[in-house]
Structures are given as structure tokens and as C-alpha cells.
Symmetry: C2
Subunit: 251 residues, 2 copies
């Protein structure tokens, strides 16, 4: 790509949108300049442009994102076939298992939920399409990392901020690579309270007919309701059959 094929004003604007997050909901021009590293004048122009288009609100002092921003992410969910294809199967899976079922894809070091059938709240945080979790300590993340070439997976693990969320969390590169080997061999990943105490989940890859892993699906439950062995016994066969149906529908 040539230098002139890149619209830096557009790229800067997008970084301004991403400057808003959990801890930063009401931002001044200076705040945005500091977070994004843009010049104050440029940050101001991006923010005023967002406000002019209705993507942000401005009270003269602080900017906040407006619900119109959701159109942007929603473009992906409605335009990509996979989320719409898997949703009904996750509903079925959740129905059959009596637990929450989800599908996700990899984006950098994180998994991104693309569809979900939540049966009942099991986690402290709420998960929706668009939600993100670190790949290294989630069942779907392990499955998706295991599908990558070894050095690619290692690179992502090294890049990840590997925090021990619980005493169970694996954080060592060697441990995690071992785990990925195991996942690759057995065809599924089980997380036993590595993300949050009391939370277990099991995930398997979804491959297209060419054998490429395009997504992962999982079932999550409370640790008190099922041991690791019980999860494999109870959920894995149903998940695999669901997965096979999905695969047959993927071009």
C-alpha cells in the first residue's frame, strides 16, 4: 500500500473513539489528546466531527459517546454470516445443557464474543457479543490459540498481560504452550476457575470444510454444578454434535 492510500485523519478519529472506555466515559479535549497522543487541536477536530455527526454529545466541556456509535460495531454483527449462523445452535446448546453457550473469534491477544445464549448469570461480569476476554486464560482462547502455528501462539502469549486472576490461573509461557499441545491433541479445552473463582468452561473449535478453525464455541457453568470430568462427560458430546452441524453449513 502506498503512503497516500492511508487516511491518517480517519485513523486518528478511530483512535479517539477507542479512547472512551470503562474508566473514561466523559472526556475533555485535553483528556483525549493525552490518551491518544494526538495534538490537542487535532483531538478537538476529531471530537467536534464526532459530535457533528451525532456519534458523540458535547456539553461545552466534556464529550461522551452517543448510542449511534453502536451502529459501527453492529455493522459487523449483522454483516458477518458466522454470528447469525451460529446463534440458533447456541440457543439449542444452551437449552440442552441448561448452561450458557457462546461463540467467539480471536482478535489479537483477546477473544471476542460474536454470539451468545446466556442461560443464567454465572459470571460476575456480563458477556455479550462484542465482549472481550484474554485468550490465554479462557477456554475458547485456548482452543483458538491451539489452532494457530506454534510460534504465532507463542508470540500472542508473550504479548499478553498474563495476570493470575485466581490461584488456578496458568501464566507461564511454557505451561501455557504445554496446555495448548494438550488442547490440540484432545480437541477441546477446559478452564477450571482460571478466569474467576467458581467458574468453569469447556470449549471446542469450529472448523470450516477446508479444516480451518473459524471460531470456538463453549459452555460455561458454575464449578459447584459440575467437576471438570463431569463437564466433559455431560457437555462435550452435545457440543461436538452441534459443532458438526455448524461445520456442515459453513462454506
Amino acid at each position: 500500500m502506498r503512503e497516500t492510500d492511508f487516511i491518517s485523519g480517519f485513523a486518528k478519529g478511530l483512535s479517539v473513539i477507542e479512547a472512551f472506555d470503562a474508566g473514561n466515559s466523559r472526556l475533555s479535549i485535553t483528556d483525549v489528546a493525552r490518551i491518544t497522543g494526538l495534538e490537542r487541536a487535532t483531538a478537538r477536530r476529531c471530537l467536534l466531527t464526532l459530535a457533528e455527526l451525532g456519534y458523540a454529545d458535547y456539553d461545552g466541556k466534556f464529550f461522551t459517546l452517543s448510542p449511534r456509535i453502536l451502529r459501527l460495531g453492529h455493522s459487523y454483527l449483522t454483516s458477518t454470516p458466522l454470528p447469525r449462523l451460529v446463534q440458533p445452535f447456541l440457543d439449542q446448546l444452551s437449552e440442552k445443557t441448561g448452561e450458557s453457550a457462546s461463540a467467539s473469534v480471536l482478535d489479537g491477544n483477546e477473544i471476542v464474543y460474536i454470539a451468545r445464549a446466556s442461560h443464567k448469570r454465572v459470571m460476575s461480569i456480563n458477556l455479550n457479543p462484542g465482549s472481550r476476554l484474554p485468550a490465554y486464560c479462557s477456554s475458547m482462547g485456548r482452543v483458538l490459540l491451539a489452532a494457530l502455528p506454534e510460534d504465532e501462539a507463542r508470540r500472542i502469549l508473550k504479548n499478553s498481560n498474563r495476570v493470575a486472576n485466581t490461584p488456578n490461573t496458568k501464566t507461564g509461557i511454557a505451561d501455557l504452550l504445554d496446555e495448548l499441545h494438550r488442547v490440540r491433541a484432545q480437541g477441546y479445552a477446559v478452564i477450571d476457575q482460571e478466569l474467576e473463582i467458581g467458574l468453569c468452561s469447556i470449549a471446542i473449535p469450529v472448523r470450516n470444510v477446508r479444516g480451518t478453525t473459524v471460531s470456538a464455541i463453549n459452555v460455561g457453568t458454575q464449578a459447584v454444578r459440575a467437576s471438570v470430568g463431569e463437564m466433559i462427560e455431560r457437555y462435550l458430546p452435545t457440543m461436538q454434535s452441534t459443532r458438526d452441524t455448524i461445520t456442515s453449513l459453513l462454506v
Copy 2:
């Protein structure tokens, strides 16, 4: 705002993202130029910029959005206090009523879901935070329109593409304005299969301490499970108590 405070390259880029939707998941440069009305050269630069930043994938012929795009919408959901605040209360509400509970805000002619606790699938389409429905024929839309000044509501109704989704759907401006009066007077809106046959819902406004309506919450169910009268009797008191708790937490 001065002319030079608007970054047209940014605005054009955002319109390119929105060009992708349900019917348009894989778009060529020419497709995007046609949909957005941009010059082909401009559309191409926007698309290449998106691809360079990882927001889109390019196979040399077609562009598709990548899951990274979801960060943009997610910026809103995580940075705005309201969605995170209401979520646990929707969970409770769904638990108590045994039905799906949601919260939404108005964006133009549409309501946008900002949080949801889905108990079991009742609709043919799947609803998630970010999902949109026309305001004129949804219970939360009626509540949010009723909170606007009369002429503002009329303007939105006139702007809406008022389709009769079912034989029950009200599509006349006068009918709808009457309905808004009723909603305003009684403090709740009930939709009896106007959006989809078999689907009923009841919504109430959520106001902040200053009395401004900031959102609507609803409970939806299947028509066979509850008549309109039964919905009001069964769900309204619980909803109102949930709403009062939320209001007390809103600054």
C-alpha cells in the same frame, strides 16, 4: 463550529463502515463507492486504511469487516454508565418475571438496546445490546417517544418508515399520537403483537432524579403466555419497583 473543525476524511470513513450491513458483508471498492456515494478513489483509501488498521480484511477483491470493529461499539457500552448500571437489575427482573427484560435508548427513529437479560428466545430475531428496532411499533419506543415534546415525537413518527408488520400494527400518525398520549397518561406502554405475531411486551420509562427520561425498560413475553391485562397485572408492579431502584442510583 467552523468549517475547518470538521474532518471530512473521518466522516467519510465512518460512512464506509456503516456501508456494511446484513445484505452487504463482502464489498468491493465499487460497491462501497455506490452505497456511500463517495468517489471510488476515496472509498478505496478508506477501505485500505481500515484494512491497514486491522478493522477490515481484504482478499485483493473484496473487503469484509473484522471483529476489531466491535471495539468501537463496545467503547460506548463500557464507557457509558447506564448500560452497566441497569444490567444487574434487568437480570433480577428477568428472574422474577420468568421473561426477557431489556433496556434501550432512542437514536433517531429507532430504539437501541443497551442491556438485556434474555430468559428464553421469544422473538424470531435475536436481540443484543446494539440491536435496533423501529420506535413507532415497540413498547420501549412508545415510552421514549411519549417522553419527547409532542412535535418532536410527531417529526420522528413522520420520518419513520411505518410498516404494518402484523395486522395489529398501528401505522397512522394520528393513531400513534393518540397512543403516545395514553402512554404518557398511564405511565407505561403495551405492545400486543404489533411487531411480530405472538409477541407482547410492556415498557416503562426510567427517569433520573431531575425527571428526565433517560431510558426505557421492558419485559417481553409470548402472547399465549399472558394477555395484555395479565401482563400489566403480573409485570408492571415489579418493573416499577425495579425502575425506582434504578432511578435512585442515577445522578
